[in-house]
Amino acid sequence: MGELSRASLILLGLSLFAPHVARAEENMLRLPQQVLGWKTDGQDKVFTRQTIFDYMDGGGEIYLAYDFQQLLAREYARADAPRIVAETYQMASSRDAYGIFTHDTDGQPVSMGQMALYSAGLLRFWKDRFFVRLQAEDETPEVKAALMTLGHQIASGIPSNGKKPSLLMALPPQGLIESSVHYFHTPVSLNIHYFLDDSNLLNLNSKTEAILAQYHQDRDRPRLLVVRYPRPSDAAAAFEQFGKVYLRQSPAGKAVYRKLEKEQFAGGRREERALLLVFEAGSRESAEKLVDLAASRMKGVTP
């Protein structure tokens, strides 16, 4: 069994026996009973870490990878109109609410909560520890208005904003493609956004934090991956493994870069307990420049 598999099973085990969900109703958001003619239809459904797979068989792993706590799902119905499902996901931290929001970044930005996207009958936003997802069966002008109204009402019911991951500060702003930023912890997420290997090459786990982002650099679109580990020794071990397995070159010092397939460069450096890696850079110089910029910004990142 590979490391990824073991890590997944450990994650699953933790989810099944997590002790921190006492009562499903605790800390639950209050959802409106009706909005623009749509009324609550049926019983609310509540799902915990133990039961998330009952709601999304084959999809719960993604939420558990972000320290999901509980989900409240409510359906709204109006005669002769598409149904609407409101899902409010409570995460353990605002960082993870932001993280699950960045899982899928395709959509039109709208002003709601701390960040929101709309796409053809689907509205998503995050605020504080909550990720909210409102989806209609179909899109009509009335549906869109209802989704927006419902979204604003829910967002206003969340009293405070939450902090974004401090690791975001490591991303150099110049050339950053904002919609390409993903925040996550585990290899399950990394491999969805950028398949690196099937065995958890970077030793990612629930205690690591990672940011993946893409940049405009002339004709190139390099990707920057920043991973922060609990201890410098964790980062060193992962860097050594990355060099040997992926670059096939042991990182003798703090940095290593190599030309790989398609004439593209990959590599990176370790900075204390962080790894800063670059992929698909057009030249060694541009790869080093991006990594060094991020490394210098890491000094300002709070623990």
């Binding site: 069994m1 590979g2 999809g59 792993e61 899982h103 689907l122 398949f195 290997d197 065995s199």
Partner: protein
């Protein structure tokens, strides 16, 4: 057989160079890969597997509503072409007999997800009965299909890119025949092919009909409407690996079109590779598959 261990890890570089999952890379259009077989992708002269794709512009309207009459016609065209029979009843009689207990295993998710359209199920059931299988010997279901009692199965999946499996089509459609579904999502879903070899399943699949009317190409697990499109297609075949490989190729091209650059389906669908190399359910080599394309040609993507 061992599928995966620390010393046999597969990296992105292995995938892109074709030293791992080479046939999948070929299907996904990764340039510069060595061809596993001879010939052009999906145009084998002496194919190991045949797949028929039928598309119709009127199968789905602008409001995403499915036209059941058109769908039934598409299925007839696909079956006649696949079997070479001019008579539709005879085409179905190639695979099913009046004494069969036929189970139609389709994919049903909640409305938020990608489910088989009723028009497809109705067309299959109608043609099956018209060919001579008694109505009381036909059962259609997702969960709870009495597979032990079935003598024949029709695999009727949808098509969706999947955050854990890479792609979910006919091979993954049988995951509900197991009691430990979550197990098959681990290790890159590489053991999904095993579900086809369960004692009550093995050897029963006579036909695969894929509902590719409105497939999904996004990362999932939940649906973003931007990532679903009206492809308006139906595929018919008997080789699940070949069929899934065709769908993989189409979805990869759609992703590239959507982003305007290569947007690889990830994780790589290891279940497809192992279904070929470990479980021997069919071929994932595009050069060994003959794909017959019929009907609407716009953005065929293969």
């Amino acid at each position: 057989m061992k599928h995966h261990d620390k010393n046999h890890r597969v990296t992105r570089r292995d995938f892109l160079r074709g030293t791992a999952y080479a046939t999948l890379g070929l299907a996904m259009g990764i340039e510069g890969l060595p061809r596993a077989g001879k010939g052009s992708a999906f145009a084998a002269e002496n194919p190991l597997s045949q797949v028929v794709l039928v598309r119709h512009e009127a199968a789905v309207d602008a409001g995403h509503q499915v036209n059941s009459v058109v769908v039934a016609e598409m299925l007839d065209t696909a079956m006649k072409t696949f079997t070479g029979e001019g008579d539709i009843a005879k085409a179905w009689q190639r695979y099913f007999h009046p004494q069969d207990n036929v189970g139609i295993k389709y994919t049903r998710c909640s409305w938020q997800r990608i489910h088989v359209n009723q028009a497809v199920l109705d067309a299959i059931t109608d043609r099956l009965i018209a060919s001579g299988v008694p109505r009381n010997r036909v059962t259609a279901n997702d969960f709870g299909l009495p597979v032990k009692d079935c003598t024949a199965l029709i695999n009727v999946p949808t098509v969706k890119v999947h955050s854990l499996t890479g792609i979910a089509v006919s091979i993954k459609n049988y995951i509900n025949f197991t009691r430990i579904r979550i197990f098959y999502h681990h290790d890159g879903s590489s053991k999904l092919g095993e579900t086809w070899l369960l004692p009550e399943v093995k050897g029963k699949t006579r036909l695969i009909v894929v509902d590719m009317l409105r497939p999904y190409f996004g990362p999932g697990p939940q649906i973003n409407p931007l990532h679903q499109w009206d492809y308006k297609g139906i595929l018919v075949g008997t080789d699940p690996v070949a069929i899934d490989t065709v769908c993989l190729s189409i979805c990869q091209k759609k992703r590239n079109l959507f982003k305007g650059e290569e947007w690889l389906i990830t994780p790589p669908p290891r279940s497809l590779a192992t279904a070929d190399s470990v479980y021997h359910l069919g071929t994932s080599d595009p050069t060994k598959i003959e794909l017959t394309r019929l009907g609407w040609e716009k953005e065929q993507l293969i």
